[in-house]
């Protein structure tokens, strides 16, 4: 029996068409459902970056199952068995499960997917921003490059005009300007003058007053300022009708001077002088000034300022150098002229020196000879006057020649090592005759720490000393003259009378201070300043009678100054004597073993051997005092002295070794002749025996022949001075012969 089961109602016939359509739709749905996952898988495989793979698997499963359901649905249109039903149910159940799970998953996943999208948008925006920034940087770099290039161009020259011209040209090129102009302040500073423009070759000298609000605005800021094209500084080209003028920018260019640069702080732009640079964009271009362009303009303006100041400095230094060169040439010429003059003068002096001295010497020599001849008293007086005058004249000539050489600095000191103590002794020796004639006592005192040897110009120092001491003697008629010499310490060197004398101490120099005090006529304090001037003489009567050219002290002063010292005279007034003081700088000689300096002084007055080291001498004298004195004398001269007090002792002691025997021949009871004879008998030949010198008082009479007869070689009158003893010894030793008469 074909009973209808409680499964599906038999289809009504109108439904066959509908069923057909459902059948076809299901089929296609299934097809689609199966193909979608395939597509998905395919594309997922293609893309590497899909993070939700297993979601797709789920989705795929869900779709596959849906498809399977629809596919199985196809069998349910007709009669179908129970198995189909079961499969259908299973499929549906699975589908349900998977789809629920998928739905649940999607709740989580879709926001994520959405955010991916947002991030993508964000990244795109960022990229766009970076792009923009890159653009900006590139522009800035371009600007920088332009600035560097401009600066290079500007600074590659030190010529002001080139700098400015180059600036305008390069700026015009870089920024594609229509016009670029530079207004410089005039000398008065009250107006700006158009100095340079880009397009016009030779700008006519427009000037506009500097006091303009726009100009003040520009000058007060160091930024590039946009100004109106109608401003007088910007009206450089005739406006062409209805065209829109381009934007104009003006910037100040400080004109720096050397004095603006302080050491520690950079130039404050308090300098009042500015130039004005005006830049115009092309008209009708709708271009606008960009920030980076303005910055470029500002930088360039600064660079131009620096370049201009360099150029200015260079100009100044070139000018100064030219001036210096001119001055050098002039100075050189003047120097050469002066040298020529000095040489001519020296030649003249040298010639005149010789020429004047020769006749002078002739006069002096011949007058001296004339003096020796037989003359009547009047003639003698005349000859003496001639001698005196010619000596004076000779001194004058020498002084003048010396002084003129001193004046122009052509005199040089002849430094050498000399015996300082000996110098003083010699001065005393030389001054003694004059002083004793005038019954003056001269004493000298040398400080114990005064070195024996010094380095300096001995001749000139002697000259100074003689001059000073000579003056002291000349102007004193009685009393005594004392000479003190010591090393000046620093306190005593700084004297109120010598305010501009600054002694400098050093290790191998010392300052010798010599004071010569006399008890003579004295000097009026008013005259003291005149003392050292040439040819000036004090007007006092005493001075007038003493002769002299008045040059002596002037020459002394020059010499003393050459020796790095100072000289002055103090006096308490007329009749109270005076003291001459001078300080000179002398060197301390260095001693080395080889260059052992001679230790005996130079005595030029007599040709005497000065010391007799080791000379063995025997002295016979019965008077104890005079024996000690004679012994002292001889010991002082370096001799080896033996003394005896009687003739017998003498004869006993005398031997071959003794070189000289001094016999006191006025010993009472002793015949000096006899002693001499007996001494000679002791020695076989006179040659081998000692030299005999007789000492006698000046009341005894003596004849030469008597002494020769007994073989006495010399006679000396007592009292004996050191010098006399010295001369006696050297004459006797040299010539074996000396006789001194009263």
């Amino acid at each position: 029996m074909m009973e209808s089961c409680d499964c599906i109602d038999p289809p009504w016939p109108g439904d066959e068409l509908l069923m057909k359509y459902q059948y076809i739709s299901d089929f296609f749905i299934a097809l689609a459902y199966f193909s979608i996952p395939l597509e998905l898988i395919y594309f997922v495989k293609k893309s590497a970056v899909f993070p939700y793979r297993w979601v797709l698997v789920q989705f795929g499963a869900f779709i596959v199952l849906c498809g399977a359901t629809h596919l199985i649905n196809l069998w349910t249109f007709g009669m179908h068995s129970r198995n189909v039903e079961v499969v259908m149910t299973t499929a549906k159940v699975l589908t349900a499960v998977v789809s629920c799970v998928t739905a649940l998953m999607l709740v989580h996943i879709i926001p994520d997917l959405l955010s991916v999208k947002t991030r993508e948008l964000f990244l795109k925006n960022k990229a766009a921003e970076l792009d923009r920034e890159m653009g900006l940087i590139r522009t800035q770099e371009e600007t920088g490059r332009h600035v560097r290039m401009l600066t290079h161009e500007i600074r590659s020259t030190l010529d002001r005009h080139t700098i400015l011209k180059t600036t305008l040209i390069e700026l015009g090129r870089t920024l594609s300007l229509e016009e670029c102009a530079l207004w410089m302040p005039t000398r008065t500073g009250l107006e700006l003058q158009l100095s340079y423009t880009l397009r016009q070759q030779n700008p006519v000298g427009f000037t506009i007053p500097i006091q303009h609000p726009v100009i003040n605005q520009v000058f007060s800021s160091n930024r590039a300022v946009k100004i109106s094209p109608n401003c007088p500084v910007a009206r450089l080209r005739p406006l062409a009708g209805k065209y829109m003028p381009g934007e104009v920018v003006a910037v100040r260019v400080p004109l720096l001077h050397l004095s603006n640069f302080q050491i520690n702080d950079w130039p404050e732009l308090s300098t009042k002088r500015y130039a004005l640079m005006v830049l115009m964009l092309p008209s009708d271009s709708a271009r606008q000034w960009h920030v980076h362009e303005l910055e470029l303009v500002e930088v360039v303006a600064d660079q131009v300022a620096v370049a201009l100041s360099h150029a200015a400095i260079l100009e100044e230094s070139m000018r100064a150098r030219d001036l210096l060169m001119e001055q050098n040439v002039a100075l050189d010429l003047a120097r050469r002229e002066a040298e020529t003059a000095v040489r001519a003068r020296n030649d003249f002096l040298a010639v005149m020196n010789h020429e004047m001295r020769t006749p002078m010497h002739a006069i002096i020599a011949l007058s001296s000879l004339l003096q020796e001849t037989e003359l009547t008293p009047e003639q003698r007086l005349m000859v003496e006057a001639i001698l005196k005058s010619s000596s004076l004249l000779a001194t004058l000539i020498n002084d003048v020649l010396d002084l003129s050489r001193l004046e122009d600095g052509s005199l040089q000191l002849e430094n050498g090592t000399f015996n300082l103590h000996a110098l003083f002794r010699e001065v005393l020796y030389l001054i003694k005759p004059i002083a004793s004639v005038k019954k003056l006592f001269v004493s000298s005192s040398l400080a114990p720490d005064l070195p024996e040897f010094a380095v300096g110009d001995e001749k000139r120092l002697m000259q100074i000393m003689l001059n000073v001491v000579g003056n002291a003697v000349k102007f004193s008629n009685e009393g005594n003259i004392s000479i003190f010499a010591f090393i000046a310490k620093s306190e005593s060197l700084r004297d109120s009378r010598a305010p501009d004398f600054f002694p400098v101490h050093s290790d191998n120099h010392f300052y010798l201070r010599v004071q010569v005090k006399d008890s003579g006529a004295g000097i009026d304090p008013q005259d003291i300043s005149k003392l050292f001037t040439k040819f000036a003489q004090c007007q006092s009567l005493a001075a007038r009678n003493s002769g002299g050219s008045g040059l002596g002290l002037a020459i002394c002063k020059r010499f003393v100054n050459l020796m790095g010292g100072h000289i002055w005279i103090e006096s308490e007034g007329l009749g109270k004597g005076s003291t001459a003081v001078f300080i000179v700088k002398l060197g301390i000689p260095e001693y080395s073993n080889e260059s052992k300096l001679p230790f005996f002084p130079k005595v030029s007055a007599n040709h005497c051997q000065t010391n007799f080291p080791g000379l063995k001498v025997l002295v016979m004298d019965d008077n104890g005092v005079s024996r000690s004195v004679t012994k002292g004398l001889l010991v002082h001269l370096g001799c080896d002295v033996t003394t005896v007090s009687s003739a017998d002792d003498c004869l006993r002691v005398v031997s071959q070794e003794h070189n000289v025997v001094f016999l006191d021949v006025c010993m009472p009871g002793v015949d000096g002749y006899e002693v001499a004879i007996r001494i000679h008998e002791k020695f076989t030949t006179c040659r081998q025996g000692p030299l005999l010198v007789a000492l006698m008082g000046n009341t005894d009479r003596v004849t030469k022949e008597n002494y020769l007869r007994v073989g006495i070689n010399g006679v000396v009158l007592k009292p004996v001075s050191v010098d006399k003893m010295r001369c006696v010894l050297s004459e006797v030793l040299e010539h074996r012969f000396l006789f001194e008469t009263c």
Partner: protein, 152 residues
């Protein structure tokens, strides 16, 4: 400066001695003989002179006191004294001695006695002056200065 003042005083005193004839150039010579190797030469010689002179003066007094004056001896003593005093430059003593010798030759006792007085007087004057001079010298030396050299 102290030393310079002392030196000045010394110089002036010495100058006065020379001026007044107590000393002559021979004394200067003695001063010149004094140096580092012989620092007390002058003092030594002068002391010797004092010793000698005193002895001689005593001998002279005794000789002239005698009844029979031995003029030869007197003369020889005076000769000695003259020699000594001239060696050291005691000028006035020497001059007195010269005068003395003349009277000795004349053998005039009274004159000799008065000469002796004179000589004694001159001698003591000279002695005291020299002693003062040495004192001044010593002062200078202790103060560290040097003795000025006098030249006539």
């Amino acid at each position: 400066m102290e030393v310079v003042q002392m030196q000045r005083r010394f110089v002036e005193y010495a100058a006065s001695l020379f001026r007044e004839g107590f000393l002559d150039g021979q004394f200067t010579q003695l001063q010149q003989l004094q140096d580092e190797s012989n620092p007390d030469f002058v003092v030594e010689v002068v002391s010797l002179f004092f010793e000698d002179s005193e002895k001689l003066l005593n001998d002279l007094s005794r000789a002239l006191d005698q009844q029979n004056v031995d003029f030869k001896r007197v003369d020889s003593h005076v000769h000695q004294l003259k020699g000594s005093s001239s060696s050291i430059g005691a000028q006035r003593v020497k001059n007195a001695c010269i005068a003395f010798r003349n009277y000795c030759e004349e053998q005039n006792t009274d004159a000799c006695l008065s000469c002796l007085q004179q000589v004694k007087q001159e001698y003591s004057l000279a002695k005291s002056k020299l002693e003062t001079l040495f004192r001044l010298e010593q002062q200078i030396l202790t103060a560290g200065g040097s003795i000025p050299i006098m030249m006539e």
